[in-house]
Amino acid sequence: MRSRSAIGRFLAASALYAGLMQLVNWPAIICHASAYPLPLAAPPSASCPSIGDTYVDTSIGDASFLNPVLATDSASGDINNLVFNGLLKYDKDLNLVGSLAESWQVKKRGLRIIFKLRRDVRWHDGEPFTAKDVEFTYRKLTDPSVRTPYGADFSLIEKVETPDPLTVVVIYKEPFAPALESWTMGILPEHIFKTGDFNSHPANRHPIGTGPYKFFEWKTDEKIVLKENPDYFEGRPCLDRYIYRIIPDQAVQFLELRQQGIDSMTLTPDQYKAYPEFFEHYRKFRYPAFMYSYLGFNLKKNIFKDRRVRLAIAQAIDKEEIIKGVLLGFGKAATGPFPPGSWAFDATVKDLPYDPAAARKLLSDAGWTPGPDGWLQKEGQPLEFTLMTNQGNKLRELSSQIIQNHLARIGIRVKLKVLEWSSFIHDYIDKKDFDAVILGWSLGRDPDQYTIWHSHQTGEGQYNFISYANPEVDRLLEAGRRTYDRKAREKIYKKIHRLLAEDLPYIFLYYPEALPVIHHRFQGPEVAAAGIGWNFREWYVPQSLQRYRLAF
């Protein structure tokens, strides 16, 4: 020992650290050769011109719960949509059609909905799907110990009955038209969740569903792999595998796209305009996303109580410049609270033209005149306000700067404030301590926006934080929830669209576009009102173009 040199001791000490590393559970990251056999070239099935190949999708964040009742993030949603089915689903034109339910009837003016279930559905583990599973899912959605945020839509249910294994009768306390949409919620298997704690159940990481793809594996923060369900009740999907790669940086996603390491990605506007060489293997798509951005006024503030002020501000903002500057043109000026893809969208509502002269005249009619310093004022009170938005959303920050500039042109001084999200929401929005904000709404496919516009929804933490109150809008919102007939509802919501466009509680800024690219070997992607993935099950790759044939 004594004779060992200092270098020897040094090396021994290094080895000690190396040994420490060995103590930790190695195999967790080392892959084992998997057991599943390579699929042979199977004959094309009825609806698939050819089958095989893998679709590699990508996401910034990893999934959390592969359980539709518990999941709230979009990554989990992407996977759950392929593994689970609801009783109903949206078709390409955003009509509700049957999925697990073969047919349904709305009775007693909406107090009773009867679903007839398909008899040919089996869970991925081979157990038959029955009405009991639907009842179980409902029980979990309303169970106070279950950590689901989706209970509200189901709290209006008085009870769920299952007279026979293929019939579900849902009895409501009051008619609630958006309830139909709530039954697109993925249905869970009772036999799996019967034992064990629901919130921490192992099946939340190894889901058993009824959908077109079966869960295969999940390597945390690396990838989630699904494989085709050959017994899917609507017919097997044409693509054999679905891989969801987690790549947390958008620039790196984009490089992976160039390298063909991923087959699909949602681009930002500037990426969409990148060199053509990035897209030589891809098809680009664009369509309006189901969301809009707005400038919302705190209607409790005196200056915004006057509609003329709101109207003047609306006329002084050049939306086209915002769309060009912020979205590089990939968007449309918004006219109301429904996106153009929705059946509630009233195309006859015209956007206010950009007209600063008219705005100035309107304000001077309302008593706001330029003071000695050039800024507008009335009785010594300056016309100025603070425009807030949240940190981390570049589009909103840029929009607020453009708006500040436009309003300065007509003499309105705008201060900008960019705040951390949580403190923005809880210390300012919830407490109604703001003048005006820039935010956006991501919308469901059903046009019910009771929680955003109804005058009863102004409490702390509720979504009518601008304190909008219009008895007629209230009445229409209530009627929209009670009416099941699509034509009648359409009328109601178009009316709401028009009223909000006139009242201007928000200035509806823009509808951004979704900008996905998909590898061009995939046949079948098609843009419809529902977006792009609505027929994913039918996408296929001709044999000669398949990329992952050997390995998978």
Partner: protein, 323 residues
């Protein structure tokens, strides 16, 4: 020696306790709650549903009570479950740790392999053009932003030359490969991150070795060794280098927390499934149990690293012995 070790370990307990208390307090001072990201401004989630979730997670209690509960669970070695996916914090950490150790271990090894010769050479040719050139080289590495260098190399080596994969730790089809190819595949994925990490942190270690070496070669015993007529290489590599490297052991011990802590920027750029991303994402999502779990383990390892450094130092250097 044993008594000393025991005493040090005993002292670590109040320090660890203090660290957790401060971490917990600071965490609760930050605005926002774990439920915010999921439920704020989500039209599908009503205010009542949000309140119910806050209660279910026990977030309606004041933070000292929450801390008490956490401490009680910890005393049974239960780190709790993540708010994000309801999995035990311990298994979330165990899942990431190997990947981070692999990356950081490889880079540390590369740093040692490169910085020792660089440091020795610079010390011997002190103030020469090569010494100055090497200084510039390592400090360029030190100053260059890692994410920028990483992206540049991804474009150059990954896309233009097509030699290496861009991101991740495994190829998509690595499960189907024989074991040996799997290792090779992992190796190929590691080349870029290990290189970037080593290049950007070469400066510290090589400067350290250089300074130690400069100090040692002016010692009397080196002069004595030369006077005995030993060859220059024997003087340098056997007598001088050995002693110059002793303090490096301390630096290695102190780098233990870095080894397991991982780096968020690194792991995000390379889509690498390690500890840095786990910790950062937990902070962003206010996932309290995971933040605390990562915090406790990092703190414990820092203390352990310090202790280990002291002990190994005493072991390699007979002059340093505890009385």
């Amino acid at each position: 020696m044993l008594a000393y070790t025991f005493k040090r370990l005993l002292f670590a307990i109040p320090i660890l306790f203090g660290i957790t208390l401060i971490t917990f307090g600071v965490m609760h001072l930050a605005p926002g709650r774990p439920t915010d990201a999921l439920t704020d401004m989500n039209v599908k989630v009503t205010a009542q549903a949000r309140q119910r979730l806050i209660k279910l997670y026990g977030l309606d209690q004041p933070w000292p009570i929450q801390y008490g509960r956490w401490l009680k669970r910890l005393s049974a070695l239960d780190f709790g479950r993540s708010f994000r996916d309801d999995r035990p914090v311990v298994s979330k950490i165990a899942e990431r740790l190997p990947a981070t150790l692999l990356l950081n271990g490889c880079s540390l090894l590369l740093i040692l392999i490169l910085s020792i010769p660089l440091g020795v050479y610079s010390a011997l040719k002190r103030n020469s053009v090569i010494d100055k050139g090497l200084s510039v080289f390592v400090f360029v590495g030190y100053s260059v932003p890692t994410f920028w260098l990483a992206l540049l190399l991804m474009i150059g080596v990954g896309i233009k030359l097509g030699w290496l994969p861009i991101s991740g730790l495994h190829s998509l089809d690595s499960d189907e490969m024989p074991r040996l190819s799997q290792w090779l595949d992992m190796g190929r994925h590691l080349v870029l991150p290990v290189f970037v990490m080593a290049f950007t942190s070469l400066a510290g270690m090589s400067r350290y070795v250089r300074n130690e070496m400069l100090e040692v070669i002016h010692q009397d015993y080196i002069r004595a060794a030369r006077a005995r007529g030993l060859g220059e290489s024997r003087v340098i590599f056997k007598h001088a280098l050995g002693n110059a490297l002793i303090p490096v052991v301390t630096v290695l011990g102190l780098s233990l927390p870095d080894m397991i802590g991982g780096s968020f920027i690194f792991e995000t750029i390379f889509a690498y499934p390690g500890m840095g991303r786990l910790g950062y994402e937990a902070v962003m999502a206010r996932d309290y149990p995971v933040i605390m779990g990562v915090g406790v383990i990092a703190a414990a390892l820092t203390l352990l690293g310090n202790l280990l450094a002291d002990l190994t130092y005493a072991w390699v250097d007979p002059r340093v012995r505890v009385r």
